[in-house]
C-alpha cells in the first residue's frame, strides 16, 4: 500500500454495509468511500495538488471523511482546533504555508458541503491512484514549541501504514474492533484510533466530549456501543477511577485499554486492573514525531503505589535504543521532520542508509527486565491532560501581557496542575481573575494555568535567574 485511502477502499470491498464511524449519526464503509471520493474529485477539479489543506476539526465523522478525501487527492491535511486563540491559528497557517482550508473564510476557502456532494469522476480517481507515493505528506500536526511558536510535524503515508501494521501484529488484534475515540482530532494521538479502525475493518465511535466529564455517562456509552478497545489519555481513565465509578458500573465489553501521553498514577491504574481482571492494560509510548507508538508495556497485576510504569519494549518493526540515555527510535514510523524548519529537523531526525532515526529528547533507563523506563525530559516539556506542553511556551505568551513583569510556569506532577507564578509591573485589581481570563483567551485550553499565584517579587537564584527549584518547593 502507498496511500491510507487504500485501507478504506479494501475494507469497503469486504464489508460495505459495516458501520465505519458513528457520532450522533453513522456512516458505513460504502457510503464513506463514496463521500471521500467526492471530496477528492472536488479538490482535483480545482487543480489543487500537493497542498496543505486546513480542516477545522469537530467531534464528527465529516472531519475524518475530509481527511481521507484530502489524502486520496494527494494533498496533505492540517487539523486545526477551531477554539485555538487567533494568534496560534495564524502561526499554524504561516508556518505550515497553508493556502487552502475547508470553510475558512480567511484562506482560499473550500466548501465541505459542496465537496461531499461533488460528482465522482472515475477517470480522475484513477489518475490520483497512479500518483500515489508512500513518501508523500499525509498530515501536518502542530505541537507546542519552545519559542512560543508551534512546530509542525510532517508525517507521510508510509509512517501511518507502518504503524498500523506493526501495532496489529504486535497485539494480534482481530478484525471488526469497536473503538471509542477520546482524543480530539486536532491531537496526534487520535490518528491511532482512526487508522487502526480502518486497518481492522472496525467501527470508531465518537462520543460528545462532555460525556467524558461524567464517568457513568461515558461508561454507559461504552456498554451501549459494545466498545472493546480504547486508546485514551490516562486523565480520562483516572476520572472514572477517582469517582469510584467502577464499583458501580463497568465497561463490560472492554478487552483492551491502551493509554498514552502521560503518566497513569499507579493508584488509579490499580483500581482499573482490579475491577477488570480479564482486560489487557497496555502503556504506550510515542511522540508526535513518530506515527502511533513505538514502545509498549502490558500491566500485570497490582502495582506498588510509587511504581514508575515502564514504557517497555519496542513494537514490532521498531528498533529502540538509548544513546547517552536518550530514547532513539529507528523505524518507518519516524516522521519526515518539522515542516519548514530544516535546522530543528536536523537536530532531531537523521536518515542513515535509507533508515529514519528520531532522537526523542526523552531520557530513560533500562531496568532488570530489559524494559525502558522513562526518566526525564531534556527540556521544560511536560505532559498535561495527554498534551505535550513546553512550559516556556506558556511563559512566552503570558509575558506578553502588558501588566506582567516576570513569570515562571511550573508543573505540579502530583496534582496534575500547571502553576503560574507572576509578578506585576503595576496595580491590578482582581489580578488572579484577570490573569486567568487573559490566559484562557491567549492559550489553547489545555495550556491554561490551573493555579495563578501573584508574587510581590520573583525569587532569583545565585546566577540571577528565576529560582525554579525554590518555587518548585512551594508548589
Amino acid at each position: 500500500m502507498k496511500n491510507v485511502f487504500e485501507l478504506l477502499e479494501s475494507a469497503s470491498l469486504t464489508c460495505p454495509e459495516r458501520l465505519l464511524f458513528e457520532d450522533v449519526e453513522g456512516v458505513n464503509y460504502r457510503d464513506a468511500l463514496s463521500k471521500v471520493s467526492s471530496v477528492a474529485c472536488y479538490l482535483w477539479s480545482k487543480g489543487i495538488r500537493k497542498q496543505r489543506i486546513l480542516v477545522n476539526v469537530g467531534r464528527d465523522f465529516s472531519t475524518l471523511l475530509l481527511f481521507f478525501g484530502i489524502a486520496l487527492s494527494g494533498n496533505c491535511y492540517v487539523p486545526m482546533d477551531p477554539t485555538y486563540p487567533e494568534q496560534r491559528k495564524k502561526d499554524i497557517v504561516d508556518i505550515g504555508e497553508v493556502a487552502y482550508g475547508f470553510d475558512c473564510p480567511e484562506l482560499e476557502s473550500l466548501s465541505a458541503k459542496e465537496a461531499f456532494s461533488f460528482p465522482i469522476n472515475e477517470a480522475d480517481i484513477l489518475e490520483m491512484k497512479a500518483a500515489f507515493n508512500a513518501e508523500d505528506p499525509l498530515y501536518l500536526m502542530f505541537t507546542s514549541g519552545s519559542t512560543g511558536k508551534p512546530k509542525g510535524v510532517m508525517k507521510c503515508h508510509r509512517n501511518v501504514l507502518a504503524f498500523v501494521d506493526n501495532f496489529v501484529s504486535t497485539f494480534g488484534l482481530e478484525e471488526g474492533v469497536r473503538i471509542c475515540n477520546q482524543t480530539p482530532f486536532s491531537f496526534d494521538a487520535s490518528a491511532k484510533d482512526i487508522y487502526l479502525t480502518l486497518k481492522l475493518k472496525g467501527t470508531l465511535y465518537i462520543p460528545d466530549k462532555t460525556k467524558f466529564a461524567l464517568p457513568k455517562v461515558i461508561v454507559d456509552y461504552l456498554n451501549e456501543k459494545q466498545v472493546d478497545t480504547i486508546l485514551w489519555v490516562p486523565s480520562a481513565l483516572t476520572v472514572i477511577a477517582k469517582t469510584r465509578t467502577l464499583n458501580y458500573i463497568k465497561p463490560e465489553y472492554l478487552k483492551r485499554v491502551f493509554f498514552i501521553g502521560e503518566v497513569f498514577p499507579a493508584k488509579y491504574l490499580n483500581m482499573w486492573t482490579a475491577a477488570m481482571p480479564d482486560t489487557h492494560f497496555v502503556n504506550l509510548y510515542g511522540s508526535t514525531e513518530i506515527a502511533g507508538a513505538c514502545l509498549y508495556h502490558e500491566v500485570k497485576g497490582e502495582l506498588p503505589i510509587d511504581a514508575s510504569l515502564p514504557t517497555g519494549k519496542p513494537l514490532h518493526g521498531n528498533e529502540v535504543k538509548l544513546e547517552d540515555g536518550e530514547i532513539c527510535v529507528c523505524s518507518d514510523q519516524v516522521a519526515l521532520g518539522y515542516y519548514n524548519d530544516p535546522e530543528k529537523t536536523a537536530s532531531t531526525f537523521r536518515v542513515e542508509d535509507g533508515k529514519r532515526f528520531l532522537h526523542t529528547g526523552d531520557f530513560a533507563e533500562i531496568n532488570d527486565d530489559g524494559d525502558i523506563v522513562f526518566h526525564a525530559r531534556k527540556d521544560f516539556q511536560i505532559k498535561h491532560m495527554g498534551y505535550r506542553i513546553e512550559l516556556q511556551d506558556i511563559e512566552a505568551v503570558m509575558s506578553s501581557l502588558d501588566y506582567v513583569e516576570d513569570c515562571c510556569c511550573l508543573y505540579n506532577q502530583d496534582k496534575g496542575k500547571i502553576v503560574l507564578f507572576v509578578t506585576l509591573n503595576r496595580e491590578l485589581e482582581n489580578a488572579v481573575t484577570v490573569i486567568s481570563n487573559d490566559a484562557r483567551e491567549k492559550l489553547p485550553y489545555y495550556m491554561v494555568p490551573n493555579i495563578v499565584r501573584v508574587l510581590p517579587v520573583m525569587p532569583l537564584n545565585a546566577n540571577g535567574k528565576i529560582d525554579r527549584n525554590g518555587l518548585k518547593k512551594s508548589l
Partner: protein
Amino acid sequence: MDNVKKQIISILSGIRSDVKDWESNTQLVHSGILDSLGIVELIGELSDTFDIEIPPQEIVYENFDSVEGLVKMVERLSE
C-alpha cells in the same frame, strides 16, 4: 439567598473564576464550563463541604448542568 446555593456558587467560582453568572446557566457540563477535571474537583469540594458522598449514578447531566440541579442533589444526599 439560600445557604446551600450560596456555598455551591462559591465552590464553582473557585473552580472557574472567569465565570460570573452561574445561576442562569443550565448547560454547565454541556457547554464545557465543567470539564472532567472540574467535575472531579467539584465532587471533592461538595463532599467535604456538605459531608456527603456522591455516588457515581448521581454524576449525570441532570444534576451537574445547573446550580439548581446541584442544590437539589446536595439536599437529597444530605437527608
